[in-house]
């Protein structure tokens, strides 16, 4: 008789769930799951009316601290296409999510899986994979390509190809969507390149908290002189901050660059001690109202970075020209990282 209560729990566990119906997403749109809002923006721009996009990480969320939620699990289990940046950017939580989601169509290697950053010409590829070098080890190099001027185009192309792969019936629409987005990108890129030329002339140095903006700084010709993190993934120590402060003073660095999540008391302390300003740049689309699209976010990044170094963006565009090239602009290799 003792087994009866146990069997009652068992019955609930095995048969109870059948009563809970899982409503399907409306319509016959392609169900796409994107890890970042940046990817979601590109998917929406290219896929248009054919896609329904679910974004996992919140704007401004540290990608090491994404708590996988039930809605993520359900979305992955129903997805036709899963899109990540890759390059180990989301490796803390995506592999487990995909394994638990048990949707074979979107597992790595399947047509429904897109690693949008794959094959990007990354910087800071570690010489050896060793935590003696840093706590954050990214074997394929710096994964923050969503903050590279060339990263958007690279990811957009791979997203276009992924959409066509799983939904070839609308291939023409996806190509059209990409060309439309690329037209906007080329206009913006021409402007960014003009501002970058003005920045290069400054021969300026930068100080930042973590390695998110290394691509952008390299593309702007700004050398990285110091990081607040002694090594990626390690919290600043007093002695290291002392060296950073000395470097800022010696090189006359005007700002400390930080992401929203790392704009902390260490950044404030360095800024206060050296007298330089804090420049918090976005790390994801949607963190601020004016960062509704990837192009808008990067526009704002470039403008604010330029202004921080005493460059008038509009004057730079007038001087160096801001007209788009007549063809796709290939990603430019950044050279400012460590």
């Amino acid at each position: 008789m003792r087994a009866i209560p146990f069997l009652a729990v068992l019955a609930v566990s095995l048969f109870g769930p059948f009563g809970a119906a899982a409503p399907e997403l409306a319509g016959d749109k392609l169900k796409v799951v994107a890890t970042l809002p940046d990817l979601a923006d590109l998917i929406t721009a290219i896929g248009g009316e054919h896609v329904e996009v679910k974004t996992l990480a919140r704007p401004g969320q540290n990608l090491h601290a994404v708590r996988v939620k039930p809605s993520h699990l359900v979305a992955v289990s129903r997805a036709d296409l899963f899109v990540q940046v890759g390059l180990s950017l989301e490796h803390a939580w995506v592999p487990g999510l995909l394994e638990t989601g048990r949707n074979r169509a979107v597992l790595p290697g399947q047509p429904g899986f897109v690693s949008a950053g794959e094959d990007y010409e990354t910087i800071e590829v570690p010489v050896r994979q060793d935590r003696a070098i840093s706590a954050d080890v990214h074997p394929q190099g710096n994964p923050h390509i969503n903050l590279s001027l060339g990263g958007g185009l690279h990811m957009a192309k791979r997203i276009r190809d992924g959409l066509i792969r799983v939904d070839p019936d609308h291939a023409a629409d996806y190509r059209t969507g990409f060309e439309r987005w690329n037209g906007d990108y080329l206009k913006a890129r021409a402007r960014w390149d003009a501002i970058a030329k003005a920045a290069v002339e400054k021969h300026a140095d930068a100080c930042l908290y973590h390695q998110e903006f290394d691509y952008l700084l390299g593309e702007m010709g700004i050398a990285i002189a110091a990081f607040l993190e002694p090594r990626p993934g390690l919290a600043p120590t007093p002695s290291h901050l002392g060296k950073v402060i000395q470097t800022i003073r010696e090189k006359g660095i005007p700002v400390v660059l930080t992401a929203p999540w790392s704009n902390n008391k260490n950044v404030a302390r360095v800024a206060k001690t050296t007298g330089c300003r804090i420049l918090e740049l976005p790390v994801m689309v949607g963190g601020r109202p004016e960062h509704g699209t990837w192009i808008a976010m990067m526009d704002d990044c470039v403008d604010r970075l330029a202004k921080a170094y005493g460059i008038d963006p509009e004057a730079a565009v007038r001087r160096f020209g801001g007209k788009p090239a007549g063809k796709e602009v290939e990603p430019q290799r950044a050279g400012g990282g460590r």
């Binding site: 087994a3 729990v9 059948f18 809970a20 899982a22 994404v66 706590a135």
Partner: protein
């Protein structure tokens, strides 16, 4: 020209060099299959693996320094000790199977804590796990003790289920979407036996090796978790674990009581909410356990019998944790439970802790705990715990 062909062309010295070279590349078996040896084509892959084909290997060290004041029931004083050194291997068997194993050195013994494979090749959200693995009970029992937010497992779990509860068996696991923002998971497992701890000076627990079907040990769990707003997650669960057939043995007198069983039921609630950046937040958890059946035994010198305590006992724990930022966490846990003794005396424990994370792979924890034991001496403990992880670290933990 491959190395062997080259060797044949260049004489005995060349042959030795070439075979040496080939042997080092063919680490998984001999080149020739002689009669009576395993037939590789039927029993496995003979290709050479690069290092990338190996399982991920990880290790950790969990060390303590503590001061304990057990009242009149023992000696107080300081101690430094290595609670555990753990090695894990994780890897894919093939696209449908994955497996892991955990070997631990603790208390001067090496023990295989887990070694299990999971089949995930169904066209549904179903998996089957087989091997030796931690029981799917409540929020904590699947987790190894060093992975817990607190230095020790809540007292009610330790007393009713054990510090850790591995068993050898098979588990069926399935989850369902229950709307767009919630999912429900259920598991059912059958075990040949659990590894049950017989603590204290009382009778030891022995389980019969071969059992009737109705005497097999079982576990079951159903749990649902759901989005709670933009940044929160709520989870509830109900679990049961039944030990089907065991006996108490009093080693001093040689008496025993056989054909016993007991069952533990549990209900758990957990809520977590994060800041916008996800680096800080709150977590609250609670679990209630009811143990029923043959819970304990004591030798009666008067009658010469082993008196079995066929009763029920109730216990709970509450836990709250505040992640202040990426490196600092504080928390408090309260556990209260009836002990498996005559009259069910109550033990109440409270633990407060602070954890400092140097990185994602190293942490230092300070804690103070006090236990109020009804009918026994109270005890107090202050500790420092250092836990470091080498390489990858993962266990087969379900949500």
């Amino acid at each position: 020209m491959n190395p062997t062909t080259k060797a044949l062309a260049f004489g005995p010295i060349g042959t030795a060099l070439a075979l040496g070279s080939a042997a080092s590349a063919s680490a998984q078996g001999p080149i020739f299959q002689t009669p009576g040896m395993p037939i590789w084509a039927a029993s496995g892959q003979v290709d050479r693996f690069s290092n990338q084909g190996n399982p991920a290997i990880g290790a950790l060290i969990d060390g303590f320094a503590d001061y304990v004041d057990p009242g009149e029931s023992g000696d107080d004083g300081l101690d430094l000790f290595l609670r555990s050194f753990e090695m894990t291997v994780n890897g894919r068997v093939d696209p449908n199977w994955y497996g892991y194993a955990v070997v631990v050195y603790a208390d001067e013994e090496v023990e295989l804590e887990e070694a299990a494979v999971t089949y995930a090749g169904f066209d549904s959200n179903t998996t089957v796990r087989f091997g030796r693995f931690f029981t799917d009970f409540g929020k904590q029992m699947q987790a190894h003790i060093h992975d817990l937010p607190t230095p020790e497992r809540p007292g009610v779990l330790s007393a009713y289920l054990g510090e850790e509860l591995p068993g050898v068996g098979a588990q069926l696991d399935h989850w369902w979407a229950t709307g767009d923002e919630s999912a429900l998971r259920a598991s059912f497992a059958v075990f040949g036996e659990f590894e049950l701890e017989g603590e204290g000076e009382g009778p030891i627990i022995e389980q019969t090796e071969r059992k009737d079907l109705e005497d097999l040990s079982l576990s079951a769990r159903v749990t649902q978790f759901m989005d709670a707003g933009e940044r929160g997650v709520f989870q509830w669960g109900a679990s049961a674990r039944r030990v089907g057939d065991f006996q108490f043995v009093d080693e001093g007198s040689g008496t025993s009581a056989a054909g016993l069983s007991n069952t533990v039921f549990g209900v758990d609630l957990t809520y977590g909410v994060d800041s916008v950046d996800g680096l800080s937040g709150w977590t609250f958890g609670a679990e209630t356990l009811l143990a029923a059946g043959d819970l304990g035994a004591a030798f009666d010198p008067g009658s010469g019998d082993l008196l079995v305590n066929d009763d029920s006992a109730l216990g709970h724990y509450l836990w709250a944790e505040r992640r202040m930022d990426v490196t600092n966490t504080v928390g408090v846990m309260l556990s209260s439970f009836e002990r498996f003794e005559s009259e069910n005396p109550l033990t109440t424990e409270v633990t407060a802790y602070y954890t400092r994370y140097f990185s994602e792979f190293a942490r230092l924890r300070f804690a103070v705990s006090h236990a109020d034991n009804e009918g026994d001496e109270d005890s107090t403990r202050a500790l420092v715990q250092l836990t470091t992880f080498f390489g990858p670290h993962a266990h087969g933990v379900n949500w």
